[in-house]
Symmetry: D2
Subunit: 283 residues, 4 copies
């Protein structure tokens, strides 16, 4: 029948269209079938092995960061995370040490021969940040802060882009395209949980996003187990699931004394827990 015919044409053109659009994107696997591998201080993220980015939620002091750096180094890891500019829901919460925090990170990084990653929140700060950090992190709240994406796309420094709190996978991929379209192709995607009705976890870890992002793009995909679950007791199981489903690595927060942390005290690991965490994941 003619209607049947129409339906087939309809399906064919639909697929054609979607295909076209995805092919057009620079981040898409159609454009570049091989995996992008990002070499940071010897860690080749995207090479098929699991990688770990660990460190405190916020930089609070040299001593605090150094204590974590030492533990990270002992585990043979190469990358340290730490927040200097902290986006906080309330203006009266601790906002991070800012540039001072970046300087502490840089000092610790040099002393322990670690690479550092830190979140940048103002487009104007991107150009300064390249002197202090090895990876620029763009946080969930800023995934569609397009001015920030454009700034990050115009510097020669790897970028870790977190998925927005309620971003679709398609919007996430387009956000990465903002960066690559400005010529910076060293992008890591990071699933960090999405906002749903379920409140047993801080967010809902959308674990299926990992294989979808790996299929659709050629970029490495990390999973932030701290912000997706918001629960210390779920960090290890979530990390196991992330690696099993094909993530290129795991991010989590470690603090020498979580009980007195200036932010996220309920979800950071202490050093002992971190050592157990690594042992379980690498055995």
């Amino acid at each position: 029948t003619i209607q049947q015919l129409f339906k087939e044409i309809f399906k064919a053109s639909l697929e054609l269209q979607e295909d076209d659009h995805r092919k057009a994107l620079l981040v898409s696997r159609k454009k570049k079938p091989e995996d992008t591998i990002i070499d940071i201080n010897g860690e080749k993220i995207g090479d098929g092995n699991p990688h770990f980015i660990m460190g405190p939620c916020a930089v609070e002091s040299y001593e605090q960061v150094a204590a974590v750096a030492e533990a990270v180094k002992k585990q043979g890891l190469k990358i340290l995370r730490g927040g200097a500019f902290k986006p906080r829901t309330s203006p009266y919460d601790f906002q991070g040490l800012g540039l001072e925090g970046l300087k502490i990170l840089k000092r610790v990084a040099d002393e322990y021969d670690l690479a550092v990653i830190s979140e940048i929140v103002n487009p104007a700060d991107v150009y300064k940040a390249v002197d202090y950090v090895d990876i620029i992190q763009i946080g969930a709240r800023n995934m569609q802060n397009f001015e920030l994406l454009k700034a990050a796309g115009s510097v020669d420094k790897p970028v870790l882009l977190k998925r927005g709190m309620s971003a679709t996978i398609s919007e996430f991929i387009n956000a990465a395209e903002y960066i690559i379209s400005r010529s910076n192709a060293n992008i890591m995607l990071c699933e960090r949980g999405i906002r749903t009705y379920e409140k047993a976890t801080r967010n809902t870890l959308d674990i299926s996003a990992v294989p979808i992002l790996k299929q659709e793009t050629h970029l490495p995909v990390m999973v932030d187990v701290t912000h997706s679950t918001g629960r210390r007791d779920l960090l290890l199981p979530a990390a196991k699931a992330a690696l099993a489903i094909g993530a290129d690595g795991v991010m989590a927060e470690v603090h020498p004394d979580p009980a007195v942390a200036l932010s996220d005290s309920a979800q950071q690991m202490d050093i002992d827990m971190f050592n157990d965490f690594m042992k379980e994941l690498t055995k």
Copy 2:
């Protein structure tokens, strides 16, 4: 019983705590019981009467904006909206005319004696924008772009803050607090729909947010019927509901020829529809 007693203490302290926190916020009605009224070009937003902010999604040309301005003026309205910096999901979509767009808006505003509102997306642009616009709009994607909020809080210009796509009411109020804490108290809140599983509308208009925001804060509350519904056929019914539930005004998009609009073509009203819309709402 002792357990019963505990429960009552528990409840009492819970209320005490929440009360405390809300009292502390400068935007809260506990801090300032009287309604904030913002006078823009003679429109006293927050005075108990309905106000309307209408205009094209994006500034495309002088002629396009002038055509809408004329219609807006004829309806006796005082404020014109128009986007110069357009946050778009894809980097390959029309990104707005930028500063050029603000200049067009300013020229039309002067010619038709209208106030103008336009979205600013980069903290650095806030200081320039004050020369061109009468209200700075902060869009949904930037509700937690705290650098932008701080910049908007440090200029002497009314701000219209849109609720983020998946922001809770509490986060929305805290975002406004970022602005007022920097000393700018002329803030309008704007409900524009939240992201849910339902796809019959572009977003889900959270109409109950209006009376809650009016109760919790002393700020005027607008409803953007265009972005909350994303459907031309729902603009009028949604506007009726918004005014019935106590909103201080309604925002909607008007374009001389929506079919050829560079953005949001499916949801803008043409001039005739706009005239009918106003007639229905003001009869």
Copy 3:
């Protein structure tokens, strides 16, 4: 170009398909353009005037129901609601009086010349219920309890069908189709809020669903302001919005002494508040 042509064919066939499907449904306005009006005890629901269905959450005793019935009668209303079978999250919560509850409702209904509506939860009870109630209510949790829908479709008694907690509008319409396809065409739809991430209200009232349901189907559409908001202070504003956007009526809960109610104590109105509520809505 050929691609352009394909796109147009694509669009045309897409619309054709959707159109076809909607036309096929017995509840759709395409199938029957005129509004369905349901006459219950003289209330013509769907006739363009607002109607009200009020009463306690749960039937607790003859005295309690009679007290509300008297108030409802005084306001000139004709329909009383009251739950006999209560679906509760925990098996240890009050489950309703069951058949005993229906008998109380029936007795009060006869004494005050009111029609009654009550929720039925077991397909096997539908056939018994017709002797006691004037409207069978199917609750949100049972919107896709297809066996219950089929049973309700096979009796000659109006049905009020509530939208499921996370049902799409399309699924809601299809649930109504289950009833009408068994030959019972006296169906009222009831929007009662959907589950979202926002917790300031018990559910998120999806007010836009009202005009969409009115467009897509020929059935009357009610709004349950009690369950959508879960807050006593929002009942009146939500009811105003519902009527402004075109709902055929409003449902809400009234209890002689909400503080001691066996369920939903935080959201039921007492008699004084109910009288004010009606006064405000009918002035």
Copy 4:
């Protein structure tokens, strides 16, 4: 300070309350610390090893079921799934073969020495079903069909309870409590994805629910990878993640010829794919 004191009392009583409630539930691990192990045809679900429940979405014919049974048997599995009563969104979609379907399942089960699981949707059918099936499945749409839960709780037959489409973990646990409170303690919980804004997958697999359910209850926890993802290409990665995070087993759909399946044709595996799936998961 007195306020500080209040806060501590508040916290203490909050924990006390929650603790109390959880302890009270018969399904909770506080009530029974040891894992519940359910022995079905020699498969000891909950014993720490992975178990698999595979079979077609719907029973369509003896031949179809037998073809899958043979493949399931060859893989050394012991349990076959197959739907006889199919809850479908539209009344005009294939509704399953009903009792006839159960008889086919029973015949195949006997011939291949497999246990069978099938969904029951009407409380009245539970008592008949026990003659045909080894496990009663309660589907997502019926998770809060409390009459069905009560019926399932009153027979001596293991029950697999699926999480509702938008059920919280707490509601899920309470639904299981309905069953156990009627004395049937042989319950398996099954995570099958929740409804969110993300449409790249049919539902969003809430993988974190698995360790939470294992912590909170003593019941085995399965993951249905077919309905959570709705995508054939994600079945294997999702199954790996499920087992890595501690699920007691995986459910998935297998059909001899998915392209002609009467339901779920886009997401069932064919026999070859099923064999690869098992090989990958058991290597």
